[in-house]
Symmetry: C2
Subunit: 131 residues, 2 copies
C-alpha cells in the first residue's frame, strides 16, 4: 500500500508509528469503537477486508474477532486531513465491545456521572471463556 | 466534572493526560473530525456546550471555531469502555475541516491512492486570512 507514506503517524504511550482508527457501521453510521493501527495492520485490513489493529496493551497485531468471532468486514477506508486518523466503514458481526455491547461508546456523561445507554448483546464471560 | 477520574488518559507525542475525541454530527451521524482533549478541554465543553480541544500542535486549549467561526454545539458526550476516547455529538456550523471540507475524512483509500470524496464548503484562504 503506497499511501502509508502520505500518513502522519503518532506515538501513543511510547509506541511509535500508529494511526488512530474509528470504526463506523457502514449502514447505520454508528461509531462502534476506536483503536490503533500500524502499517502492517492497515495493510492487512486493506488486503483481507477484515479489520486489523495494533493492540497497545498486548503490543502486537490484532485481528478483530480472533477470540470472540466478532469480526469486522471493512468495505471502505477514509483518511483525515492530517493523515493521522482513518475510518474503517465496516459490517460488524455481533458486538464490537469486549464488554458485550454493540458499541464501545455505550455510556454517556450526565450530571450524575456515567449512564449506560448502549445495547448489550452478549455476556463477555461466555464469549471469551475459551481463552 | 467528577467523571474525569474514571477516564484513562494516553500520552500522545509526548503530551500527557489526553483522551481522543471523535466528533459526530448529531443528526446525520457523519464523523466530522478527530482531535484530543485534556481535562480542561472536556470540562469547558461540558460547561459551555461548545467543543473545546487540546491542540497538540499549538500545545494549548482550543475552542473549535475560534478562528473560522465554525463552532460545534455539543449536545451529548459518550464515553468508551476503556475511558480513553469520547464522542462529541455535535451540530457543526459550516465545515469541520480547516481545509474547507464538511468533514476531515474527505478522502478514501483506493488502489490508485487517495481519492477526494468529501464536499468542499469554503476556501480556507478566505476564512483564515484574518489571522
Amino acid at each position: 500500500m503506497t499511501i502509508w507514506d502520505e500518513l502522519k503517524t503518532r506515538t501513543v504511550d511510547g509506541i511509535e508509528g500508529l494511526i488512530t482508527v474509528i470504526v463506523q457501521d457502514k449502514d447505520s453510521s454508528e461509531v462502534l469503537m476506536l483503536a490503533y493501527a500500524n502499517r502492517e495492520a492497515l495493510e492487512k485490513t486493506a488486503e483481507t477486508g477484515l479489520a486489523h489493529y495494533y493492540s497497545t496493551s498486548r503490543k502486537k497485531l490484532w485481528l478483530k474477532g480472533e477470540s470472540s468471532g466478532n469480526t469486522q468486514k471493512v468495505s471502505e477506508i477514509l483518511v483525515d486531513c492530517d493523515g493521522d486518523a482513518v475510518i474503517y466503514k465496516a459490517e460488524q458481526k455481533g458486538g464490537a465491545c469486549h464488554r458485550g455491547y454493540r458499541t464501545c461508546f455505550y455510556r454517556k456523561i450526565t450530571e450524575e456521572g456515567l449512564e449506560t445507554v448502549g445495547e448489550k448483546l452478549f455476556e463477555p464471560d461466555e464469549v471469551y471463556k475459551k481463552k
